[in-house]
């Protein structure tokens, strides 16, 4: 497998996702910087906007050359490419304008005490409009080579919506990790506490997004192989799945160590350098594994990026995933892991219930910091259940993924896990002492946490029956 692009199409696929997905993450960081009014963070985001704008050049050049090559392919629609190009040029032009505005704001803000609010808001507005255009461009880009998305839904046993969602979702933990790493490195060099905490939050979010990405990937496998689609090989998908499983574990290690550091910071008021570098190590290793996973994913449905030296797998029964499927179907493996899964639910819901009820107004004699200490139990419960849940899913993934309550279950896991992060980053909530009421915003989050995890349990329990 070659990771370094050897064709314009390959380079275009690789580089074109960075401006759009990168904008989502940098916008998130930028809005955080504006809210907490952290100057170093604002300037770092402006620099990142400018860096994104530079990517407009390779994105355009690689796209233009790809068009020349792909125009000789009868399976590719010229109209689809022309529409993608038109919208793409407009969005890239706006990205460059955003980058230039960011660079000017950065230059004017460097060395002065306050950066101009108007200039900061102008960059924000430009970035939001650019992101909106990029969403359209990305969708039009998918239409060019992903013909499976246009298949008649009546002929499909598993909806192609899964494939569509997987194509969108997989870029968030992957590209997101690149930006989180860049931001984290700046934070470590600048020794900025807010930026360190924000980067750790980003690592946790990337890890959480790894769960729906892996699940939608499993569903896409069924959508692409049953019924079979010419040109798509189950063996190539399995090679991608194997690496995706390693990536999921890498993300889990990165996310959990990052979350522990956020949790410890709340109580200790300082970071442990050893832990911070441990997070960095996990993130770099995960990024390496992820690059290979993404490459194997691209091989599934993009024959244009394959080169003569590529030897693609041909045995659909080879690899870890196929063997895990066989193993977990043995009752001696399935039942113990299912038991662990139920213990995990108990830990998650028990912890979420106690912490959320305190925030909602129960047990006011207990300060929030006291119930906050219980959170690791719930977070480790989530890790237990991601691991056991992924194993259980492999036992009969076609059936689970096509059950009506599976989608809400996964959506609630994602929402509930991200919402729990709030308990470890909210400043006002942390200062709620014994006898004091929590802020209203925290109560809404607590309600969301409870509803989400109750939804996860109900969604899971209803799987065999609805």
């Amino acid at each position: 497998m070659h990771l370094i692009p050897q064709s314009w199409s390959h380079l275009h696929m690789l580089v074109s996702v960075f401006p759009s997905v990168g904008l989502v993450f940098i916008l998130g960081l930028y809005v955080t910087a504006l809210i907490v009014d952290n100057k170093v963070m604002k300037l770092s985001c402006l620099a990142l906007f400018a860096a994104l704008a530079v990517l407009a050049v390779p994105t355009y050049v690689s796209g233009d050359h790809s068009m020349t090559v792909l125009s000789q392919n009868p399976k590719i629609s010229q109209d689809a490419m022309s529409v993608h190009l038109g919208w793409g040029v407009v969005s890239l032009a706006l990205l460059v304008v955003t980058g230039v505005a960011a660079l000017i704001t950065l230059w004017r803000g460097w060395g002065v005490k306050h950066v101009s609010e108007n200039a900061l808001h102008l960059v924000l507005g430009l970035a939001i409009v650019t992101l909106g255009l990029m969403v359209i461009v990305d969708e039009l880009g998918f239409d060019i080579s992903h013909h499976e998305l246009q298949l008649d839904a009546a002929t499909q046993k598993t909806s192609q919506i899964w494939s569509h969602v997987h194509m969108i979702l997989n870029h968030f933990p992957t590209v997101g990790l690149v930006f989180a790493l860049c931001f984290y490195l700046i934070a470590l060099v600048a020794d900025n506490v807010v930026m360190k905490r924000t980067s750790l939050v980003l690592f946790v979010i990337c890890a959480i997004l790894g769960i729906p990405t892996y699940v939608t990937g499993n569903a896409s496998m069924w959508a692409l192989t049953d019924p079979e689609i010419p040109g798509i090989s189950k063996a190539v998908i399995n090679a991608h799945r194997d690496m995706a499983l390693v990536t999921l574990f890498g993300l889990a290690f990165t996310g959990v160590t990052a979350w522990i550091e956020l949790w410890r910071y709340r109580h200790l008021g300082r970071f442990s350098n050893r832990s911070l570098y441990l997070v960095l190590t996990f993130a770099i290793i995960t990024l390496g594994v992820m690059a290979e996973t993404r490459h194997r994913g691209g091989q599934i449905n993009h024959p244009e990026i394959r080169v003569a030296t590529d030897i693609l797998p041909s045995d659909p029964t080879a690899g870890w995933s196929a063997n895990i499927e066989l193993l977990i179907n043995n009752v001696l493996w399935f039942v113990p892991w299912q038991t662990v899964h139920f213990f995990g639910f108990s830990l998650i819901f028990g912890t979420a219930l106690v912490v959320s009820l305190r925030v909602l107004g129960f047990w006011k004699s207990v300060p929030f910091s006291a119930v906050h200490r219980l959170l690791p139990l719930g977070v480790f419960g989530v890790v237990m259940n991601v691991f056991s849940g992924m194993l259980i899913l492999q036992a009969d993934s076609f059936r689970y993924l096509n059950e009506i309550t599976f989608v809400p279950k996964i959506a609630f896991i994602t929402i509930g896990a991200i919402a729990v992060l709030y308990f470890s980053v909210a400043e006002r909530l942390w200062t709620v002492k014994a006898g004091e009421d929590a802020p209203m915003s925290a109560k809404w989050v607590a309600a969301l946490v409870l509803i989400s995890w109750a939804g996860v349990i109900m969604g899971g329990r209803l799987l065999p029956y609805v």
């Binding site: 039942v335 113990p336 690791p376």
Partner: protein
């Protein structure tokens, strides 16, 4: 009998790690923690 043993051993190992890690983290806070 095999399943019973497998359930007990796996659950004990996983829960042991989880509770052990939670205990360790909270001990660190007990020893070095600050009041909010």
């Amino acid at each position: 009998m095999e399943i019973f043993l497998a359930v007990v051993v796996l659950a004990a190992c996983v829960l042991g790690i989880v509770f052990g890690a939670t205990y360790y983290l909270n001990r660190v806070v007990d020893e070095n923690g600050r009041k909010p």
